[in-house]
Structure formats: structure tokens, C-alpha cells
């Protein structure tokens, strides 16, 4: 018995350690191989502990923790988020107090909004100085508690070790999210006994997590679901980010194939199905593909999994999916059920388990949806995504299409926010989950470059491309140097339209072409010189459409970090577009995508659709 207990005992249990050493020890045990962060006064002891930890593990490099130092703490946060989004592991960033903590608010809120598991450790002024307006002091608990999944301020050093362990558990359990640990400097310097085990207890949360893990579909749930499916002719799946972060992409693909149900994805759900698959209809929503949005309008059963009817997806909620008789909703977050859309059938639990249960519980369900699939195919053909292919100027979708030919949908793509993000979402082929990393909910410009650095650090063997806009690129331009410093072979592709294109697009439509604050054509920035100065050995600008394929190939195939600026048509707009707060029937498809007659979009009208089903 004693021998058994001894075996379980942590080899370092009972060892005297400083608080900082305990932090690093727990990180190592949580499998952290990379820390992103920027040092400073109140976090010095912890940075020293990282240094000493790595010296101790000199003989076994695989046990060392790589430290990647950004230009700005916001960069560190997005690197950790890129790492987490690309792998599903918890991303870690460590910064000092005050301004470093406030610089971290943006990536924390961004990670919360997109359900990304990250842990941020902030230095804080010593306990006796808290609340005195000390040098580099900020109210981290208050700032972060409105943004993060959870925040800890370590007041009792005896709790430090178990707090760090608990933070990881909270970050990755249930609906994942960011957790912040604020550690006063004297707590890092404190010396105590390492326990090697233990967690802080959260009775309610632990019970809810247990309930979630046990939440499987009963036979009756499955019967109810298939009863609805039996009564429908035009089912459609809407897959969201929950499929990606719940590692349910494989199940979803099996499910959609098994019952022959086509799939639209949200922005966050890109990669949940192979976009080149016949059943894939790409993205829905404000800038969704016309055929995806028409399919949403035409479906009579919408099965939403890991998505939350965000305003950019649903538009005018009352008019969303107007012909749908039933809505099913699977989500791990109970608060999302019925938040926007009242549903007929729901399940709170993991998407992976729910899809497995449904497949097991389908009994002898069999229904032929081929008429609907033919209709969907017709939508795809008639309303195919398109742009001005004859234009002498480089059209951004053309760049993405050329990129598809090279990457074959196998790359990890990060984006900034704006038009380029939407073109990437619309035209990129993405074969795998965790391969399209974008700031979906928060829409943080400047996300792409640091996220790509984080993704590349996590996946050294993958091709990682940041598709960025000139506006987004400027936001975290300092991180170019981070890529070269750590020899991370990311490919930075800037689609330069000399301004904030998405803002200009809205100004064209809603503000009488008054480009207030959004035109950057007179700016002096030379991106190529910037990249060169930051050590990019491949740094080029492309203006000639004929050279695009060749240059793009050289750029992607370049061994190290590479930078390519493509001067695109500054007047290009993103189509289709469903205006804010409008219904899908008001979708504008532009000059190159064929729209549907307004009459066909009215749910009441006796359209071809109701005749054929």
C-alpha cells in the first residue's frame, strides 16, 4: 500500500522552491513547450526561473521550454492564441505588470470571444504595494474579469502552485477560454514546499463539467432528432467553431456523409469539413457564399452544431432560415441555447459525443435527400463565387485561387481582419480543421502575423501563411522581426489596397463615398523595405498580374520566412454582402455573382422550390 502511494507521489514533492520555480514546474508538467512573453520588473523572478529551468535541462533539449519574445505583449497574446488554435493545446504567455497587462487585454478578450484556451501569467506589484498606484501597477483583476473566462490574483503564496494547475483545467474544460493569473512579485520570490499535486476546488463548475462529460444523447433524444429529420426534405448543417475546438470535424464529416446532408460553416467553422467536398457549401452569413445563403433560405431543417447565430451569421434574426420548420442546436454552452434563436431540439454537450450518439442512435433511418442535393448543386452552379476575371488589376480572389493551386488546401492560414479576411474565407480551400485561424468574433486587426508566428512555433513542419491586409499588417508590424529572430519560416502575404478596404466598402454603400480615415494611398510606408530591414531574405512587391502565379510559388516554396506584398485593385469589394441587420433576401451579389430573383427569396411565394419538394 505504501509502495503504491510512493509511486504516485510526485518526485519533486516536498522540495523547497521559489514561487517562480513552482510556476515553471507546473507549466512543464502541463506539457508547455513554448512560452510567449515579454519580461519586465514585476515578472523578473519568473523569467529567471525559465532561464534556470532550461539550463538544468540542457542535456535533454526536448524538455526545455522555448521562449519567444514579441515586440509587444499584444503580439505574445496572439502568438499564444495562434499556438492554441493550431493545436488545441493551451497557449501560454507571460508578461509583466501594468502596461504589459493592459496590452494583454485585447488578446484575452479576443480569445474569450473565439473560445480559445490560453493562460496568461501577469506579474503584479508586491502585495503590500497593491492599491497604492505603485510603478507599473494596473488593476488586472478588474480589467480582466470582464474579459476572461476566469481570473486569479494569488494572494496566498501557498495557493500559487495549485492555482496554476487549476488555471489550465479551467482554460481547456467545457467551452474553452482564457484564464489570467496575476502573481505579485513577492509571491514569485516567496519560498515554500512544492506539493506536486492539488487543485483549487470550484464545486459548481466541477459539477457542471461532470454533467457535461456525462451528457450523452438518450435513445429518445435520437428518436426525436430522426423523427424531425424524417419529416424534412431539405436538411442543412451549420457547423461552427465548436466543431473545431471540440475536435469533432471527423465525426461531422462522417455524419454529413452518412445522411447526405450538406454543410455550411461559419467563419470560425471553416475547416470543419473539407471545403472541396461535394457536400460543402462554404461559409454562410454577411459575406457568405451566395449559394450557402440561398441554401440557408431554402432549408426546412437547420442543424446547428457549435455555432451561436452571431449577428454576422443570422443578420435579421426573424428572417433567418425563413423556410426552416425545425431548428436543432448542439452546443457545449447551455447559455447559447435559445439565446438568439428558439430551437425545436437541442443538446448541451460535446459535439463529438453528440454526433457519435446520433450516428449510433439512427436505427434504420434512411431518407433520400437527393432532390435537395440536386437543388443545392444547382445553387452552387448558378450562383458560383466569382469576380472580375478580365480586370487588368489584380483581383484579390484571384490571388487566393492561385494560392489554392499551390497549397492544395494543406496550409495553416492566418488572417488579419477586413476584406482580405473575407476573401480568404470565401475563396480558400481548407481541408483540415485548425487550419484557418482568424479573429472571428472580436475582429481584431493585427491578429494574423503574431497568430502565424504562434502557429508556426507549434507546428514547425507545417506551411503557415499569414494572409493580411495593409491596415492589419501595420497594427502589429513589429512582429515581423520576431519571425526572423526565431527563424520561423512563416509566409506573410499582404494584399495591399492602400487603405482599410472593408471600411471603405461601407463608406461607399452607406456614407456617400466619404472615405473618412480609411484612405492610406498617400502613406509613405514601404512594406518591402520594412521586411528587408527586419531580416526577411525573401521580400518582394508584386504589381503585374501575369507574374502572380510564378512569384507566389517562389514565395510559398522559399525555405525561410518570406514576405510578399501584392498590390490589389483598391476598388475591389467583397461580395456577396448582406447588410448589417438585414435579412438574406436583401443580399447584394455584385456584378459577377448571379443573384436570385427577389420573388424566389420570399418564403411565402409559390416558388419552384415548393413545387419540386
Amino acid at each position: 500500500m505504501n509502495a503504491q502511494l510512493d509511486k504516485k507521489r510526485h518526485p519533486l514533492a516536498g522540495k523547497r522552491m521559489s514561487g517562480a520555480e513552482m510556476i515553471i514546474q507546473v507549466l512543464a508538467e502541463e506539457g508547455v513547450d513554448t512560452i510567449f512573453g515579454y519580461t519586465g520588473g514585476a515578472i523578473l523572478p519568473t523569467y529567471d526561473a525559465i532561464f534556470r529551468y532550461n539550463v538544468e535541462h540542457e542535456s535533454n533539449r526536448s524538455e526545455q521550454i522555448q521562449l519567444i519574445v514579441p515586440a509587444n505583449e499584444q503580439g505574445a497574446g496572439f502568438m499564444a492564441a495562434g499556438y492554441a488554435r493550431a493545436t488545441g493545446k493551451v497557449g501560454v504567455f507571460i508578461v509583466t505588470s501594468g502596461p504589459a497587462a493592459t496590452n494583454s487585454v485585447t488578446p484575452i478578450r479576443d480569445s474569450m470571444a473565439d473560445s480559445v484556451p490560453v493562460v496568461l501569467i501577469c506579474g503584479q506589484v508586491a502585495r503590500n504595494a497593491i492599491g497604492t498606484d505603485a510603478f507599473q501597477e494596473a488593476p488586472v483583476f478588474n480589467l480582466m474579469s470582464s474579459c476572461a473566462k476566469h481570473v486569479f490574483l494569488v494572494e496566498d503564496p501557498e495557493d500559487l502552485e495549485i492555482t496554476v494547475r487549476t488555471a489550465f483545467e479551467i482554460a481547456r474544460s467545457g467551452r474553452p477560454g482564457p484564464v489570467v493569473i496575476d502573481v505579485p512579485k513577492d509571491v514569485q520570490n516567496w519560498e515554500g514546499t512544492f506539493k506536486g499535486e492539488g487543485m483549487l476546488h470550484f464545486r459548481g463548475y466541477e459539477n457542471r463539467m461532470k454533467a457535461l462529460a456525462a451528457a450523452r444523447l438518450t435513445e429518445q433524444d435520437c428518436l426525436d432528432f430522426f423523427d424531425l429529420l424524417q419529416r424534412c426534405e431539405r436538411p442543412l448543417i451549420c457547423a461552427g467553431g465548436g466543431i473545431i475546438c471540440g475536435d469533432a470535424a471527423e465525426r461531422l464529416r462522417e455524419f454529413s456523409q452518412k445522411f447526405q446532408i450538406p454543410v455550411v460553416t461559419t467563419l470560425m467553422g471553416i475547416g470543419s469539413v473539407d471545403t472541396t467536398d461535394k457536400l460543402s457549401l462554404h461559409m454562410l452569413g454577411m459575406h457568405g457564399m451566395a449559394y450557402a445563403n440561398y441554401a440557408v433560405m431554402d432549408c426546412d431543417f437547420l442543424i446547428t452544431i457549435g455555432a451561436r447565430f452571431d449577428d454576422r451569421v443570422a443578420g435579421k434574426v426573424q428572417e433567418f432560415a425563413p423556410r426552416a420548420r425545425y431548428f436543432a442546436h448542439i452546443d457545449i454552452d447551455a447559455a447559447e441555447i435559445g439565446k438568439v434563436k428558439t430551437v425545436t431540439w437541442f443538446h448541451v454537450g460535446s459535439a463529438q459525443d453528440a454526433l457519435s450518439d446520433l450516428m449510433k442512435g439512427s436505427g434504420d433511418f434512411c431518407k433520400d435527400f437527393s432532390k435537395w442535393l440536386d437543388h443545392v448543386d444547382e445553387l452552387k452552379t448558378n450562383h458560383v463565387r466569382n469576380y472580375d476575371r478580365e480586370s487588368p488589376a489584380i483581383q484579390p480572389p484571384y490571388v487566393i485561387e492561385c494560392l489554392n493551386e499551390i497549397t492544395q488546401g494543406e496550409a495553416i492560414i492566418c488572417t488579419g481582419v477586413g476584406q482580405h479576411q473575407m476573401w480568404a474565407a470565401q475563396y480558400l480551400e481548407v481541408k483540415h480543421p485548425r487550419s484557418f485561424l482568424t479573429s472571428g468574433s472580436m475582429g481584431t486587426m493585427g491578429f494574423g502575423l503574431p497568430a502565424a508566428i504562434g502557429a508556426q512555433a507549434a507546428c514547425p513542419d507545417r506551411l503557415v501563411i499569414d494572409i493580411d491586409g495593409d491596415g492589419s499588417m501595420r497594427m502589429n508590424l513589429g512582429e515581423l522581426e520576431t519571425a526572423t529572430t526565431y527563424s520561423l519560416p512563416i509566409k506573410v502575404l499582404v494584399l495591399n489596397n492602400q487603405g482599410d478596404g472593408m471600411v471603405r466598402q461601407w463608406q461607399k454603400i452607406y456614407f456617400g463615398n466619404r472615405f473618412s480615415g480609411s484612405d492610406k494611398s498617400l502613406r509613405q510606408k514601404d512594406f518591402v523595405k520594412t521586411a528587408e530591414a527586419d531580416g526577411f531574405e525573401f521580400a518582394a512587391r508584386l504589381t503585374d498580374k501575369k507574374l502572380l502565379k510564378k512569384t507566389l510559388t517562389e514565395f510559398v516554396r522559399f525555405k525561410g520566412p518570406a514576405f510578399l506584398e501584392v498590390m490589389i485593385d483598391p476598388d475591389a469589394c467583397v461580395y456577396p454582402m448582406v447588410g448589417p441587420g438585414m435579412g438574406y433576401k436583401e443580399m447584394i451579389t455584385g456584378d459577377y455573382i448571379v443573384g436570385r430573383d427577389a420573388a424566389e427569396n420570399l418564403p411565402e411565394s409559390p416558388s419552384k422550390l415548393t413545387d419540386s419538394f
Binding site: 483583476f141 479551467i170 464545486r203 459548481g204 454552452d333 447551455a334 437541442f346 448541451v348
Partner: protein
């Protein structure tokens, strides 16, 4: 099928108050997080009481908020996501007992003192201290009784008043879900 757009509901919409009961871990910052969920949506908390509960380490928050039932339900679901929350429920329209305690200083000049005391007796208000100019009454009861008492003493002149805010408890341990099932949170099916 009705759609609920929560964003569209207005904070000043007078749709009555909700009494929310939230059991939380007694930890640093819990109250500010929960209050933050209301303030972030522009809702004012009408009253708030926090104190220890029957279980060690847990505190009970009773909150009165003026908002529509569906919105209260959505905010409660958000509250229920916080790691520190053990249990959250809407006690409005449930079979519960509610009490509030007030201390009120009422002007009581010579000549009016006896009638004031007689009227106070109707509400079982106790005089906790007195000066030649006024009485300080203590009244305990539900909102209706407290308001009725205040209506009666207001003509005498109220100099000062302090209220604890409402506390509430189910009459029956197992009646945590109200008649409409509004509290049936889909935590696990």
C-alpha cells in the same frame, strides 16, 4: 416560433423586478464579476445582499434587478458559467419567502408621538431608539409591507432611512424550479 433578440430589449422597459438567488464560492472578486455581468449590459441592480450561507465557504447573493424574465434567464445562464458560481436561480414567481429589513428615522414631535406608535404597531414596527424629536423604527417584511409602512409614516416626515435589500428563500427545498419551468436551465439533459 418566436425569436428573442436580447440586444433589442431596453433597460428602461418597466417589466417588473426579478429576484435572483446565486450561491457562490466565497472568494475574492466574485461579487464584482457577477455585478459586472449586469453592468456590462446596462442593467442597474436595485438591491443586493451578500452573506455566508449554510455551507462553509459558500456565500448567498440575493439580487433584485429590473429586467424582462427572458433577459434575467440569459444573464443567469451567464452567471452559471462562472467557475465561482455553484447555483443560480430566478426566484420570481416561485413559492418563496422574501424579507427586507429597514431602519427609518421618523419625525415624532410632542403631540404626534402616540398616534405614530399606534400606527407603527399595526406593522409590528419596533422602536429601536428614540430622541425627543424622532423615533427610529425597525420593520421587517416583504416589499409590500415595508412600502405600506413607509406610506403611513411619510406624512410625519422621514429624516433618514436604510434598507438591507431583499433576501429570499424557497419554502420547499425541492421547489427550485418555478411553475413555468423558467429556471429549468439546460445544464445537462
Amino acid at each position: 416560433m418566436t425569436d428573442v433578440s436580447l440586444q433589442a430589449s431596453k433597460p428602461d422597459n418597466p417589466k417588473g423586478t426579478r429576484t435572483l438567488s446565486i450561491l457562490v464560492e466565497n472568494r475574492f472578486g466574485v461579487l464584482s464579476r457577477i455585478a459586472g455581468l449586469f453592468s456590462a449590459r446596462g442593467y442597474n441592480i436595485e438591491s443586493l445582499t451578500v452573506a455566508g450561507s449554510s455551507e462553509p465557504g459558500l456565500s448567498r447573493i440575493t439580487m433584485v434587478v429590473r429586467c424582462e424574465p427572458l433577459l434575467a434567464q440569459q444573464i443567469l445562464k451567464q452567471v452559471d458559467k462562472l467557475p465561482d458560481t455553484v447555483e443560480a436561480s430566478d426566484l420570481s414567481e416561485t413559492n418563496c419567502v422574501e424579507r427586507e429589513l429597514i431602519l427609518v428615522r421618523v419625525r415624532a414631535p410632542e403631540g404626534k408621538r402616540t398616534t405614530l406608535l399606534t400606527e407603527a404597531e399595526i406593522f409590528r414596527a419596533r422602536v429601536v431608539t428614540a430622541t425627543p424629536e424622532n423615533y427610529v423604527f425597525e420593520v421587517t417584511g416583504d416589499s409590500g409591507k415595508v412600502e405600506a409602512f413607509l406610506d403611513v409614516v411619510r406624512p410625519y416626515g422621514i429624516d433618514e432611512m436604510v434598507r438591507t435589500g431583499k433576501v429570499a428563500l424557497h419554502r420547499n427545498l425541492n421547489s427550485r424550479v418555478n411553475e413555468n419551468g423558467d429556471n429549468a436551465m439546460p445544464a445537462a439533459r
